[in-house]
């Protein structure tokens, strides 16, 4: 049994660029020779600043875009095999940034049912899938509400339930928390953690919040269409200089540790959370 969920080899993609008169001026190379793989059950965060190509990569995984060069396999299927496109899209569900623009129906449960309805699932099976998906994201009691009256975090959880009802093996989230307030962000992140831990769903999380990326198993940094850094969050964030050179931040605590080390205090470089920082500082104090 193959354990790879997503594998890309030499993936390249470009948009043509037009000037004001509509003449082709050149090409904007969005992805350059991206080779990476994501294991089943893994939680991978993809980091990169605006225009780095991270969203374009996400759209390839959902077969909304197709590779120009190179190949992308999702659950063992080449995304270019057109007859299996619906299988790819249902096994790799996608969540977008704006929760309003991805909810289709005006009742929560009808929206969650949209995916399985499109797949032609039996009505009774849809019912049980919808109930289960809404319970997983803790939105069961909102089943008959109007999505317009929910908070941003709740809307995004409904969108996640909508993808879950298609029984995906993998969920791709394209900056799902960018338009949410801190409490909405926490709701979505806790939901993701539950999905990854309890349901063993592979998560491909595109973000530019470093604190969110720190919760992943692995971080991949994309810059100008190339995968430039890869490793556990600690490994990646410890390279503070490299991250800054790429125009990215590191979690606050990592930055603090970096500054402390620069001033000659002996503290680990791979601290990412407040708890770790407290522990390290206490240990330091007991040593002196």
């Amino acid at each position: 049994m193959n354990n790879t969920m997503v594998r890309s080899e030499g993936l390249s993609f470009s948009y043509p660029v037009y000037d004001d008169e509509g003449n082709k001026q050149g090409v904007n190379q969005v992805l350059k020779n991206v080779t990476l793989s994501v294991q089943k059950g893994e939680w991978v965060a993809i980091l990169g600043h605006n225009g780095s190509g991270k969203s374009t990569f996400a759209r390839h995984v959902n077969a909304l875009l197709f590779p120009e060069e190179g190949t992308l396999w999702v659950n063992g299927i080449d995304t270019r095999s057109e007859e299996q496109i619906w299988e790819i899209r249902s096994s790799a569900g996608m969540i977008f940034q704006n929760p309003d623009n991805q909810i289709i129906a005006s009742i929560v449960e009808e929206d969650v049912a949209f995916g399985p309805e499109n797949l032609g699932v039996e009505p009774s099976e849809i019912r049980s899938r919808v109930d289960a998906a809404l319970s997983t994201v803790n939105m069961r009691k909102y089943a008959d509400r109007d999505p317009n009256r929910l908070s941003g975090g709740q809307k995004q959880r409904v969108a996640i339930a909508g993808v879950l009802a298609m029984k995906p093996a993998c969920i791709i989230l394209d900056e799902p928390t960018a338009m949410l307030d801190p409490s909405g962000r926490r709701e979505v992140m806790d939901t993701l953690e539950r999905l990854n831990h309890d349901e063993h769903i592979t998560i491909l999380h595109i973000t530019h919040y470093m604190e969110e990326a720190a919760r992943a198993d692995r971080v991949i940094v994309i810059d100008h269409g190339e995968a430039v850094l890869e490793g556990t969050p600690k490994e990646v964030f410890a390279q503070v200089d490299r991250m800054k050179a790429l125009g990215l931040d590191v979690p606050q605590m990592t930055e603090l540790a970096y500054d402390l080390r620069k001033s000659g205090i002996d503290i680990p470089a791979d601290i990412t959370t407040v708890e770790e920082m407290v522990e390290a500082l206490c240990r330091l104090k007991s040593k002196t």
Partner: protein
């Protein structure tokens, strides 16, 4: 302003009328409207009022709430009634300056007024007791036979339900854009009609832009969730007629038969008059 329009609003009360199949309610409303134009006698109107009154009672929607919908068309109603009263020729009852009021005119005005009021109440009762999504489902099912004539029934229903979902979002956005422009000194309230209409252009442009952007994003999201039109699509809630729906159809047929029968009844005031003379 938008709050006054009760047509298209939903009033949840969980009554038997709410639970009826949307198809029953759509068909009944259409039949009721057609019947209203066939009624020619007082008895007929009495029957129609009685019928509508009992349906309103069964729906548990407060009468006040339903009558609020009439406010929006009050002007139109008065205008029609008065015009009918003055313009109908016949047996003169009253002559005032250049106006003449005839017997036929009064009857005509009364009937037209009643017809309009019953029509508005009847159709708003349908939307008050049916959620928009049930309504579109009902319309989709009722129009299904048209599919054979290559009418894109499913697409029409999908468009309607998406429009319904985005109306509140776009209203909110209009409000936001207006406030943003008012904060920068835009004036929407003063000036003549043309000036005010011109002031709306800077609102419409960003609104359209964002509507198109939303449409694009929504289409991508639908594609990502495997939407491919009607083919191979199932529904979680298939509409199915229940016993109460058949009973409702039966009641409707009885009502229609009675109402048509009243057309062939002799005119009661005429009988009374002939008895008295």
């Amino acid at each position: 302003m938008l709050r006054d329009i009760t047509i298209g609003q939903y009033y949840p009360s969980g009554s038997i009328i709410h639970k009826l199949d949307p198809r029953v309610k759509i068909v009944s409303t259409l039949v009721f409207i057609v019947l209203l134009f066939l009624v020619k006698t007082f008895i007929g109107f009495a029957l129609a009022i009685l019928f509508l009154g009992s349906v309103v009672r069964l729906s548990k929607v407060p009468l006040k709430f339903i009558l609020r919908g009439l406010k929006a068309i009050m002007f139109l109603l008065m205008f029609t009634v008065i015009l009918n009263m003055l313009m109908t020729k016949g047996e003169v009852w009253l002559r005032l300056w250049i106006f003449t009021i005839t017997k036929q005119g009064v009857y005509q005005a009364l009937f037209i007024g009643l017809r309009l009021v019953l029509l508005i109440i009847g159709s708003s009762l349908m939307t008050l007791t049916t959620t928009p999504i049930e309504l579109t489902d009902g319309i989709e099912r009722l129009m299904r036979p048209l599919k054979k004539l290559h009418v894109p029934v499913h697409d029409i229903a999908m468009m309607m339900s998406i429009a319904l979902r985005f109306i509140p979002i776009l209203l909110e956005e209009t409000d936001k854009i207006m406030k943003a422009q008012m904060a920068r000194g835009a004036d929407f309230e003063s000036g003549r009609l043309i000036q005010r209409a011109k002031a709306m252009i800077p609102i419409l442009v960003p609104l359209f832009l964002s509507a198109f952007r939303r449409a694009g994003e929504l289409a991508t999201a639908m594609e990502a969730r495997c939407y491919r039109g009607d083919s191979g699509r199932t529904r979680m809630k298939e509409l199915k007629y229940k016993k109460r729906d058949y009973i409702a159809y039966l009641v409707l047929i009885l009502f229609a038969a009675l109402l048509i029968a009243t057309r062939h009844l002799p005119d009661i005031p005429a009988i009374i008059r002939s008895l008295m003379s």
